[in-house]
Symmetry: C2
Subunit: 193 residues, 2 copies
């Protein structure tokens, strides 16, 4: 008689996570060139270069087609000039691979863009499961005063292409403070693909 | 100038869900043959045949490889004899397709089984993200006193094979009450594959 075995699981607890297979962190110094206000970025860099702006804990069982990579993204609150903290963003190297982001806490955006420059945006609040359709560049933006925490899941063979945003001088829209709220504004440095 | 468009999203709120593309319900009468205690089942059926035991709300953008189906499964609390409420269970028709279940509320099990009869089990409590590996039959079991609510995500081309459980006379183990707790017991009607 074989006894039941414990299954693999990612367990999210206030005191920390168990079951992850990897973690990466992005510090302020890793995000050079992302924000419009170079002067504000330099001023923060002088004292906060090593500050972790976001980190990702993941469970990556394999890279096989049909498998899934799951994890938790934690994006800190803050701004560079008027612009809210955001992730680098990417498109999946296999363009038709989709993704979901389930907002667990905080307030933010899933900022998306098609290859021909159509911006698509989903506001993230707890309970929202944003869907990133095929062939959509996507990044998270934190609009709030606390961490934006999302559970993501995507096909394990998706891959990431980060260069697509850099080659266009960023995404078409930027999320900036507007009084006590936010708005999207055109990115003046945007180069259509 | 094209204005930003709203993105697709599934929104889970206490007052109901928006954004789903489909929903299905399983009533007690749909679950004939699942539970060991036929007499206890018949007794409940006499008064509760139409009671919804579980329902699934889903967001299914397509059935394409590389796409994802996401949704919420809500499994009611209760027992048939000593055996806790459970879903029918299945294996993915494409055997290598995996799945995650993120427990949002309640207490239960992700009860899994390999083709050669090894039981694998993950206890579900809020914060647990259970991973169903390739080629694992799986079903949810509600061990608690309230609904077991899970967010699931799986590859859109996975498909479901429900017959695999029926052909073996059920899964190898059953989850039954044990005092105020629970235990797994061997399914006496189990036929190895």
């Amino acid at each position: 008689m074989s006894e039941p075995l414990p299954g693999p699981a990612l367990v999210i607890k206030p005191e920390g996570m168990t079951g992850r297979t990897g973690r990466y962190e992005k510090r302020l110094s890793d995000l050079d060139g992302l924000f419009a206000d170079a002067e504000a970025f330099a001023a923060r860099l002088a004292t906060e270069a090593d500050r972790v702006i976001y980190h990702v804990d993941e469970f990556r069982p394999s890279g096989a087609a049909g498998d899934l990579i799951t994890g938790i993204s934690t994006l800190s609150a803050g701004r560079v000039g008027a612009e809210f903290h955001m992730t680098r963003g990417h498109i999946h190297a296999q363009h038709d691979r989709t993704e979901i982001y389930h907002c667990l806490s905080g307030h933010g955006l899933m900022l998306m863009e098609t290859l021909d420059g159509q911006t698509v945006v989903t506001e993230l609040r707890p309970g929202v499961v944003a869907y990133v359709p095929p062939v959509h560049i996507h990044r998270s933006v934190n609009l709030g005063d606390e961490d934006l925490v999302t559970l993501f899941c995507y096909p394990a063979d998706a891959g990431q292409d980060y260069g697509i945003i850099a080659r266009s001088g960023g995404m078409r829209h930027r999320a900036v403070a507007d009084g006590t709220g936010w708005r999207l504004e055109e990115n003046s440095g945007y180069v259509p693909r």
